[in-house]
Symmetry: C2
């Protein structure tokens, strides 16, 4: 298993503990399914020019228990559409974590991240050494490796491709057992 490193700028820092991601698109817009429309609404309360500033590869940073509340997919669908490739937070809400990992969206649990970055710092997340390098500041911080199955799910691109891959591997294993047994 080899997860691709994440490389990008800190596009935004959500410094609120127990941050509910619904607020990114606005609670009243949470039923919208069109991702273009969601992307237009995203971040309006925080930075109306966000869409113009963000670049593909950029990352979000969060505080403790990031993703608290009912886990809804539209906010991060909008963020991915805008180019965001992952979230690094002090800690995560279990429901949010599970949901976004099952979408194959990288999440990094890193106590101390809030004191480690400023907005627009350039970061590199190295999964093999479990370190985040702040390229702008020339510093490093360790992070918690995700559970193995979560890392595999991120690498596969989400729950559905992950399960398909597992099924294929099982079939191949059975096939080779059959050959051995013949």
């Amino acid at each position: 298993m080899a997860l691709n490193p994440l490389r990008g700028r800190v596009a935004y820092i959500f410094d609120e503990v127990n941050f509910d991601v619904d607020q990114i698109v606005g609670v009243k817009n949470i039923k919208i399914t069109d991702v273009e429309e969601l992307a237009k609404l995203a971040m309006q309360p925080y930075d109306p020019d966000f869409a113009a500033k963000v670049k593909p590869g950029d990352l979000l940073v969060g505080a403790g228990n990031f993703g608290y509340g009912h886990p809804h997919y539209p906010p991060m669908k909008a963020m991915r559409h805008l180019g965001i490739t992952g979230v690094i937070a002090e800690s995560f809400s279990p429901g949010y974590w599970r949901g976004e990992i099952s979408m194959g969206f990288p999440q990094v649990s890193c106590p101390g991240i809030l004191g480690f970055v400023q907005r627009w710092d350039e970061l590199e997340v190295d999964w093999s050494t479990h370190t985040i390098r702040n390229v702008t500041q020339g510093t490093e911080i360790a992070f918690e490796p995700p559970p193995q199955s979560d890392a595999e799910m991120i690498e596969a691109g989400g729950l559905v491709p992950y399960l398909k891959r597992q099924a294929t591997e099982q079939r191949q294993q059975k096939g080779s057992e059959h050959v051995q047994g013949a």
Copy 2:
């Protein structure tokens, strides 16, 4: 699905953020596999009389990112042996959460829990209403429902019985499809 409510006293409050559960038995004892021995070592640095005070059903309370560090099973095996039936924390480390849920050990993510309890308060965790009642103080606090699959894993008693149950259900479904198709 109906998870049994948790009912017990707050046997200990770990108020340290990023608490590494290895400290419960001591890092140097983490390779011990005998649960009786682990139970004797447990909580020595925090409360040497813990084993005499704890009662079956009691709960542990933790701070933010509870379970940070390499997820090892011995500390909570020792705690379960002493009668502990679950952990309520401000938030959890993803690796710890995944590991203990796969053991069928109830974990409750509840921002605000530290300010809501004192040691030895009697609590009731109601999964159906997502509330924790502090029987001693006569107060209530809402908690985040766990992801559905995690709730099912707790109810089944862990990952292995959960997968067995799913396999049985799939076989039964196939059987009934076969009958319908006949």
